[in-house]
């Protein structure tokens, strides 16, 4: 599991320092603190950023909104973001609101509030609302990562690293090359959100990353995976053999 990368756009040093401290304490990885629109774009495009925390007013201009608008128009560049503001001015909010999905946090804020705001932003951005606060689920799935709530903060797991997923009632065991952990998510949802081309269901309880398949032994109903892992192949799902590139 990796830390979530956060880009902070904030022109007041005292405030950005406090923010960095709070986020680092909660195992977020700060990729940089930008103080202007230009800096922000540089840092954003030169780093792998997962979440952006944006102060609406940069040096007296609502450049924060401009930044959000800029990244929002590029489909692959868009990331979840949180607006920070001390302004309660309605007009500014009306403009900021147009950058959907819209999450904001009123200054001053405490530790819980910023963590909550970041989680909300991630949920809203990937359109999987009400995940982190509910008791039933704790994982949001994007195209590249699983965002998992661990304690007060968020963690991420690259989908490519997953070898297979074993479903146990409402839990899912995620087995990666490095580790093994449990997430809370329903089977239907995980099947729905994972890419069909990379992940295949091989058994009532098994979802396998096709990249990690070493060998399929149909006679034994067995799939050998990298790292010495094994998964079961049931008759119902044998059609996956056709989908996987095989040597002839």
């Amino acid at each position: 599991m990796d830390n979530v990368n956060v880009l902070i756009i904030e022109d007041t040093k005292a405030e950005s320092d406090a923010l960095v401290k709070v986020l680092e304490e909660n195992n977020y990885n700060i990729v940089g603190v930008a103080t202007s629109y230009k800096d922000a774009l540089d840092l954003f495009y030169n780093n792998k950023v997962d979440v952006v925390v944006i102060d609406i007013f940069l040096n007296g201009n609502p450049d924060g909104i401009t930044f959000a608008e800029t990244i929002n128009v590029v489909p692959d560049a868009a990331r979840p973001f949180v607006f920070l503001t001390s302004s309660t001015d309605r007009k500014i909010f009306e403009r900021a609101k147009l950058t959907q999905p819209f999450s904001f946090l009123m200054k001053p804020f405490n530790e819980l509030e910023i963590l909550y705001a970041i989680e909300m932003a991630v949920e809203k951005f990937y359109a999987q609302n009400d995940v982190f606060l509910s008791d039933e689920e704790d994982t949001v799935i994007s195209k590249e990562y699983l965002f998992i709530k661990k304690g007060k903060s968020l963690k991420k797991v690259h989908l490519k690293e997953i070898i297979f997923i074993e479903v146990e009632e409402k839990y899912c065991n995620i087995i990666t090359e490095k580790e093994k952990f449990v997430i809370l998510i329903s089977l239907t949802k995980i099947l729905d959100l994972l890419d069909d081309n990379n992940f295949c269901r091989t058994h009532r309880n098994f979802i396998v990353n096709t990249e990690k398949i070493l060998e399929i032994v149909p006679s034994d109903n067995l799939i050998l995976l990298s790292g010495g892992h094994k998964a079961t192949l049931s008759d119902t799902y044998k059609t996956i053999i056709k989908k996987i590139r095989t040597l002839k």
Partner: protein, 579 residues
């Protein structure tokens, strides 16, 4: 000699139409009556109605138009058709378009009531066209019939016409027969005008045959009779005939006498014409005069009407002005009343605001003053390196700033609420986490007073609210709970699900509590500033007012349960998210 005879013929021929018309007019009166009866029968046929009315008014052109229209509508009533053809034939005849007239009349079926009239007309037309033989065939039909009158068509007239036909065909014996027969009946009836015509014609008949002896008595008879009539034309013809006869007898003096008489009649005819013309002129003049009078009267009338209208409009204008004036006056009074009541309200509000200002500034002043004195103490402690003292002093400082900050924050939100400037968006949220976030700020304060705090709101409680205003509400309620709690007290936040539509959030402390009077005072809508019961603790009341107003905006409800000395329950009801 030949020339003289021709002159005679001309006079003779001219006499025919006049004779003819007189007989037709008599016939027509019966026809008219019958037409009127028919028009009542066919009251639905508009065109027929018009055609007949124009026919009776002798408007021949219009009659032709409407009868044509009537004929163009297909109908099975042959009677209607017959009438229309009759109207057309008659009208064409009047307009001397003989061929058309003949054509129309021939279209009439024999069942037509006035078929004899039709035949008569046909005959006359043939006569006019000099088709004497054809005319004779028409007239002969009547001859065989012994009825003396065919709807006013006199037999004698027909005989006369027959006579004229034969005369023109030079069948003198037949002509003589008919003329004599006709004259006989006319003599019986003593119709002078017709008799003169008849005598002249008989005379002419003989005269043409050079039977002068027979002719002359008739000429004379005609002349004698003409003296009795007033018809200048007849007199003229009779006299002229006498003159020509005498001239031919070479009796020039007598001829001259007749000539002169003829001239006289001719003149009187002209005179009569002139008199008529003069009368006509006079009439026209009189009409013009009348017209002038009428126009003058009309102008006068117009003037009067204009004057009256002017008066009328000015009266209306005045009325409108009056009512408008009245209306505006009443409006003014109304608006004045509103202004006065608004002024009272504004004055009240201003007074409250002033009071608020004084209290807020007083509170802030004392807070800052406390900080000031505390800072001097801090410096002293720092100088004496009394670190334990330093820590407690810093804690008090934090508490003071926290209180001042909350006051200012409330003031800001109060202002935003009044000007409707704040951002407000109702979304669904989990109540538990909002309580957690707000409570997080009060952790040090709770610790300082050693108050136990627990948030037992279930995570499943979903409510609809605006996040920022909900936080303000909770902040104020928690702040109050802490303020009124004793050291080592406890504060509990939990939710009660007794209602389907509302989620009740309870903030319970076991602190000072309040009297029923204070409770009711706090729940009042308007009370901005509660009386300061407890000088040291109770603030402006701004916080409570903000709570109530924010809740109202969030479609929530507010209630307080309290017992003096035992504690207070602040109950916030918020709408549940519909799932």
């Amino acid at each position: 000699m030949n020339i003289k005879i021709k002159v005679l013929f001309l006079t003779l021929f001219l006499s025919i139409p006049s004779l003819f018309f007189s007989q037709q007019k008599e016939g027509l009166s019966i026809v008219e009556k019958e037409i009127k009866i028919k028009s009542n029968q066919y009251i639905r046929e508009v065109n027929f109605q018009k055609a007949q009315s124009f026919f009776l008014e002798k408007e021949w052109d219009s009659t032709l138009v409407y009868s044509m229209k009537q004929l163009s509508i297909p109908t099975k009533k042959s009677e209607l058709k017959n009438y229309c053809h009759y109207f057309r034939g008659y009208s064409f005849n009047e307009k001397n378009i003989h061929k058309e007239a003949q054509f129309e009349l021939e279209n009439i079926s024999k069942s037509f009531e006035f078929y004899f009239q039709v035949k008569m007309l046909l005959g006359t037309i043939a006569l006019k066209q000099k088709k004497y033989k054809k005319a004779i065939t028409y007239f002969k039909d009547f001859d065989g019939n012994n009825t003396p009158e065919f709807f006013g068509t006199r037999k004698s007239n027909i005989e006369h016409n027959l006579g004229i036909c034969y005369l023109n065909l030079k069948k003198y014996d037949k002509a003589e027969y008919y003329f004599l027969k006709s004259t006989k009946t006319q003599e019986l009836k003593n119709d002078t005008l017709m008799l003169i015509g008849g005598y002249v014609d008989i005379a002419n008949l003989y005269y043409v045959q050079y039977k002068d002896d027979l002719a002359i008595p008739y000429f004379q008879k005609a002349y004698e009779l003409s003296k009795k009539t007033n018809d200048f034309n007849l007199k003229r013809t009779a006299t002229k005939n006498m003159a020509v006869v005498e001239e031919n007898r070479k009796n020039y003096p007598l001829s001259l006498v007749y000539r002169k008489e003829f001239e006289k009649w001719n003149d009187s005819l002209n005179n009569q014409n002139k008199i008529w013309e003069v009368a006509k002129l006079e009439k026209e003049f009189a009409v013009k005069q009348k017209q002038k009078e009428v126009t003058v009267l009309e102008a006068e009338n117009k003037l009067k009407v204009a004057e009256r209208n002017k008066l009328f409009y000015s009266a209306i204008g005045l009325l409108v002005l009056l009512t408008a004036g009245g209306y505006f006056y009443s409006e003014k009074i109304k608006s004045n009343k509103i202004i006065v009541s608004q002024k009272v309200a504004l004055d009240e509000m201003n007074a409250t605001k002033d009071k608020l200002f004084s209290i807020v500034s007083h509170d802030l002043r004392s807070s800052v003053n406390a900080l000031k004195t505390s800072n001097t103490k801090l410096q002293e402690s720092l100088a004496t390196k009394n670190f334990t003292e330093l820590d407690t002093q810093l804690n008090t400082n934090a508490a003071i700033t926290n209180g001042a900050y909350n006051l200012l924050d409330n003031l800001l939100h109060w202002a935003l609420l009044q000007t409707q400037q704040g951002y407000f968006e109702i979304t669904y949220m989990r109540l538990f986490f909002i309580v957690e976030q707000v409570a997080y700020n009060y952790k040090p304060l709770l610790l300082d007073k050693n108050i136990s705090f627990e948030n037992t709101v279930t995570k499943k409680d979903l409510i609809d609210a605006d996040q920022e205003s909900l936080k303000i509400i909770l902040r104020n309620l928690l702040d109050n709970a802490i303020k009124f709690s004793n050291e080592n007290g406890s504060i509990k936040v939990y939710s009660r699900n007794t209602n389907d539509t509302y989620c009740e959030l309870v903030i319970e402390d076991n602190g000072l509590g309040m009297s029923e009077g204070t409770r009711l005072e706090l729940l009042k809508d308007t009370a901005l500033l509660s009386k300061k019961e407890n000088e040291n603790i109770i603030g402006t009341g701004l916080g409570m007012q903000l709570v109530k107003q924010m809740l109202q905006k969030n479609n929530g409800k507010f209630n307080i349960e309290s017992e003096l000395g035992k504690g207070t329950k602040m109950i916030v009801s918020l709408p549940k998210t519909a799932r």
